[in-house]
Amino acid sequence: MSDDVIGRLAAANPVPHDRPPHLPAPVNALPPSRLVFGVAIAVAALAGAGIAIAVGFGAFNGISAAQHPPTAADKLDPSAAALVARDQQLEADSVRFVTQLADGVRIYAVATTTGGLCALAERLPNNNGNKNAAAMGCGSPLTQTQPTTIAGFQANESTPTISYGIALDNVAAVSFVAAGQEVTVPVKDNVWAYEGDNSSINSLTVQFKDGSTKTIG
């Protein structure tokens, strides 16, 4: 089992050995006329898909709360926005507000340039008292076999760790065992949150609205 685990982990390498990083971009060998034609086709396709692009990203499929045109609510705190903008892994204009937790922490969905999904928690209170810290976790887009993200943050030493996740529309709740206790947390606006360290969460089970369940970790 254990050696299988290492093999399984090796297969999930985010930067595999057989694909050397930072390969130069392939040179487009098309003659200029064909290149112009190709660009025209691409522009036409983009125009046709314009509404879809404005509304959402593929990484947000199944997450209704994140599928909306850009609004004022999507605007991040300037410091968090600057960090997102300068990170080349993220689609800077993909930030979508999802929901706000009871303590004022705001949860956003962000798409990566490779189609991945990030859950961003913003307006966390710093040690200095300012609510301008943020934390983010990224991974593959949600699927029926991986219907929720799971991440955690501790804004400062005096606040508890919060575990949270963005879940698909058909997820009603998540259950898990934390510190020996079985806990069920409802999903609201595609988000669940729990006051407790996510490293202590075991047996995370997703409960779908149709009554079925899926244990994912």
């Binding site: 254990s2 399984r8 999930a12 990170d87 080349q88 934390a135």
Partner: protein
Amino acid sequence: MRRRFEQIYAEHGDAVRAYVRRRAPEAVVDDVVSETFVVCLRKIDQVPSESLPWLYAVARKTLANERRARARDTPKEATLSIDPEPVGDGVLAAAFNRLSETDREVLRLIAWEGLSLPDAATVLGCSGVACRVRYHRAKSRLSSRLEAAASVRPKPKEVTR
């Protein structure tokens, strides 16, 4: 001296970049890789013949310094981090992400960098025995989490939030 440095860079430049990309946001990769090879050039006389684990160790320390510097230089800014995680296997990613960083790092070195345990010990700055113990415990914890994921089905209970 210069020829040796060029040889090391040619042989291991891609591997060091991949190591950093597995652990840090893309925005800082170039800086960390550059700093790693600056240190390599400065200490070229101390670089062992098997240089890759030594380079990983330098990159690891450079990454830690970079994280500290960012936190110190921007106290009023958000602290934002993107931790690359296992891809294409959501169950594994969920289990892996809930391990401690110590556990994750030794598993990454073996599974993702493909290092031997002695080489991983060089990177981590610990003895071979300590690294072996750390590795087997980390592997066992990951296995347990995956087994639990496959077998346990807690029943819904009273809603808490």
